[in-house]
């Protein structure tokens, strides 16, 4: 498989101000196709803002974002999704009034033409079949017909990843996938992440080093809206700047 010449994501001098707050400042970041990138940092470091800038939820005030060489800086979120940027949310944003299968079905349909169909899907509908397959893969087949409001927290996270995968993204953005998970659920999530094919580029914003380090090839550590360190995961633990950020300057 020849690697794509253009990087999956290329951020040039990206910045975002909220009034006087400079939440993200001058971030330049390149994520190669197929790479696993973790973005770490303490609370308020600008990780989630950076994440939302890439997904298009908020527009940047400075800089450019390129996706496989194409400028997407000013595209609305749904257009970015159609190009191939899938995402999960820190707090699960699911459709509580619909069943697990309907959630997945909507996610599958989102990436396809004919989104406006007013024809009810038949038994052999390929999108519906794909939604069922995803439910199977995310180990949710036994609860497929239940309303999402009935799911446990761990199941909601699984569904969240399933929905992000439904439209065959080229880049999958994961916003704190381990947030709120019990320690017992973490190996399950890690196995799920490691099982994803290498044709998929993964960017995960994470608080939890136990999930972030084993799942990534390169780790970016942010502080005060800017990039502090970029290093492979095995060097992150011993990096003096990272230690200073996480343990405080006095150590």
């Amino acid at each position: 498989m020849p690697p794509d010449p253009a990087p999956a994501l290329h951020l040039t001098g990206i910045g975002r101000r909220f009034g006087a707050l400079h939440a993200v400042r001058d971030v330049t970041l390149t994520v190669a196709a197929g790479e696993r990138r973790a973005v770490l940092g303490p609370n308020g470091a600008g990780k989630t803002t950076l994440f939302n800038l890439v997904c298009g939820d908020i527009p940047p005030t400075e800089g450019r974002i390129a996706f496989f060489g194409a400028d997407i800086t000013h595209l609305p979120p749904h257009r970015r999704t159609r190009l191939g940027i899938g995402r999960t949310y820190q707090t699960s944003l699911l459709f509580n009034g619909l069943s697990v299968l309907d959630n997945l079905y909507l996610a599958v349909r989102g990436g396809r033409p004919g989104r406006f169909s007013v024809r009810r899907p038949g038994r052999g509908d390929p999108d519906l079949a794909r939604a069922r397959a995803l439910a199977e893969r995310m180990r949710l087949a036994h609860v497929a017909e239940r309303p999402v409001a009935d799911l446990s927290h761990g199941q909601r996270r699984q569904l969240e990843v399933g929905m992000a995968l439904a439209c065959d993204p080229k880049v999958l953005m994961l916003d704190e996938p381990a947030a709120g998970l019990s320690p017992g659920d973490r190996p399950e999530l890690l196995a799920l992440l490691k099982g994803l094919p290498r044709s998929l580029t993964l960017v995960l914003v994470e608080h939890d080093m136990d999930v972030a380090l084993p799942a990534s090839d390169v780790v970016t550590v942010m502080k005060d809206g800017a990039i502090a360190v970029e290093a492979p995961p095995d060097r992150i633990g011993s990096d003096p700047v990272v230690q200073a950020i996480y343990l405080g300057g006095g150590h």
Binding site: Y89, L106, A107, R109, V143
Partner: protein, 340 residues
């Protein structure tokens, strides 16, 4: 409400005129058929358009009676025999589709204007639009004949029977209501309807999945405009005309009251609420006092909202759930510790 229950209700409504004829004298049976049940159906259709928007999209619009009125005015302006004749000359077969088209387009326009607003702001903007249209109709003589409105919209002659015949009117209203009710239930299971429910639960996520939220919202208001238009054509024929009073503040709020009494959780609520409203509206005068009708309906409204925020249909559902605890047990094992 299950399909079985819906069919049972439909069968009951089909037989209702005959059943009423068995227990009531002929003139009273006719009155009940047209002026209680028929009226409940046609205003129920207008309320259905609001229930559709609110239940599946989470949009509470106060402009649905206005959209019905736009269909009504379009019909009255175009159709032959209306007094005064403004454009006139068109047979019902042409004027009714034109009226439905007008209401659908107006619905799309309301949806487009309100596309960025939610909750209380959506309510306010649709209220402002509704009041604007009513005031305009009231003050414009050339097109809407001002305060007096347009009279003598009697409806077509079908199968040699005039539309004003109580039974014909009732069965046309019932057929329209049943078709629209079934249409709504079908539509909400299609991809379009599922996206709409997604917007209700989580508009941000819908956009993130690749759907155009604005376009779906506008389309939903267009669908609701069509439904309200069907109701508007029938209410205008029921009232033998239309005037600004039929689309004023009171009329718009009545549609909201009907929907809430019935329950904004299922399309059936629109018709249940409309029937309750029609009964109270008709008999409050003889039960109590004509001028106190609003007090009475207000108390009923308050009582229902306090006792059951999701209306009569929600109440019936909960009672049904209490009676059938065994049904829940039949469903696939309710999630023990299966997260593993």
């Amino acid at each position: 409400m299950s399909a079985r229950l819906s069919l049972l209700a439909l069968a009951l409504l089909v037989l209702a005129p005959a059943l009423l004829g068995l227990v009531l004298p002929p003139n009273q049976a006719q009155f009940w058929t047209a002026n209680i049940l028929g009226r409940a159906l046609v205003y129920g259709i207008v309320a259905l358009s609001l229930t559709f928007l609110a239940t599946y999209g989470g949009f509470v619009s106060l402009a649905q009676m206005t959209l019905a009125g736009i269909a009504g005015y379009a019909l009255a302006i175009l159709v032959e025999g209306a007094v005064p004749g403004i454009v006139g000359g068109l047979p019902y077969a042409a004027a009714v589709p034109a009226a439905l088209l007008a209401a659908t387009l107006a619905g799309l326009l309301v949806g487009a204007i309100a596309v960025r607003t939610r909750d209380i702001y959506l309510l306010m903007i649709t209220l402002a639009l509704a009041m604007g249209v009513a005031r305009f109709a009231e003050s414009n003589i050339d097109w809407f004949n001002g305060y007096e409105g347009i009279r003598n919209v009697v409806g077509p002659v079908l199968f040699g029977v005039p539309f004003r015949d109580p039974h014909l009117f009732y069965y046309v209203a019932l057929a329209a209501a049943a078709a629209l009710y079934a249409g709504v239930l079908y539509l909400v299971r299609t991809p379009f309807g599922l996206v709409l429910q997604g917007i209700r639960d989580n508009p941000r996520r819908v956009a993130a999945l690749g759907y155009d939220v604005s376009l779906h919202r506008i389309a939903a208001f267009g669908v609701a405009g069509f439904i309200a238009g069907c109701g508007g054509v029938l209410t205008t024929i029921y009232n033998i005309g239309i005037s600004p009073g039929s689309i004023g503040l009171g009329a718009s709020v009545n549609i909201l009251i009907i929907s809430v009494i019935g329950g904004l959780g299922h399309p059936a609520g629109a018709f249940v609420g409309s029937l309750i409203f029609a009964v109270f509206d008709t008999f409050a005068a003889s039960l109590y006092d004509r001028d106190r009708f609003n007090t009475l309906i207000g108390l009923v409204f308050l009582g229902i909202v306090l006792a059951s925020p999701d209306g009569i249909v929600g109440l019936a559902r909960r009672l049904g759930g209490l009676r059938r605890p065994s049904r829940a047990g039949e469903q696939p094992a309710p999630r023990p510790a299966e997260t593993g």
